[in-house]
Symmetry: D3
Subunit: 65 residues, 6 copies
């Protein structure tokens, strides 16, 4: 039943596969649960959807900061 | 004010209509609240965004598991 | 795999049981999925954790609005 | 570290910039934290993804309600 | 209908009141919506529930970092 | 900036430390990001807050299923 949600920028199919596998294995081992009980949700969004310090990541990337 | 969020795969417009109606009616009746106070959010994502047991649903569907 | 999250005020054990049963049955029927694949998360919080129109629900309840 | 998530309809780039700036400044001032520690996530969805009172916002907009 | 969720540490009642008021007013003005349509959810958790850089905030506070 | 949220049952302080460390290290390596940019949120709830197949986990545990 544990649900792990990852909010990040766009991820390739390969990165998704590796990420869900690794996070599930770590969580299962550490929480002592069968991997089959663990759900992972990948919320991948463009840089226009995130901001740090009041500035969109998209603008930070444009400014190289 | 109750907020019901449904995270699922892609849903047709008809399914969305039926789902928000039914979930709102059930929740309103059981919690004793006016339906107008209930907000539903549908987070519909492709199978590449979900994993169970460390395997993307997209890959599970391809493998027929 | 669908995940239904309900954000509401405090709920009794009986209300929780009825709510998770009804929401799961409705979602399973409408989305054509086995009930066993549906996870429900109940995020129950006090009225100090919610606001509508810029006013805490706790204050609205005190003012009887 | 505070995370502010805004779930809304589609927003222009200009509106996003103003929104993340204002919300971050207000939260930083009120919580007494450096703006750089505040993350904002914008979850912008079409009106088919939201419902109030059991009716999709998309349908409410069509009916002019 | 916009929903603003704030995930932060524990907040006093006064801070909550000011925060929900300010965030609602800013969002209403910037998005051109009536304040009454805006819901705010405050998810206040202890420092043991958050981590940055792989270290619990509770431990960072103990180490003064 | 990536945010990893774990929704699970109650976790000890030691388990929390190990979990946030491992998840952060794996995500940083796989996504090619500095660990310091990764935030983890632990949403730990009792078994009365979760249901699978329309039955509260608390009731499933009582029935030994």
């Amino acid at each position: 039943m544990p649900i792990i949600t990852v909010q990040a920028n766009q991820l390739s199919l390969e990165t998704r596969r590796e990420l869900v596998h690794e996070l599930t294995q770590s969580a299962a081992r550490i929480m002592g649960l069968p991997p089959e009980t663990i759900v992972v949700v990948l919320e991948c969004r463009p840089a226009e959807d995130y901001a740090v310090g009041g500035v969109l990541l998209a603008d930070r990337h444009r400014e190289g900061s």
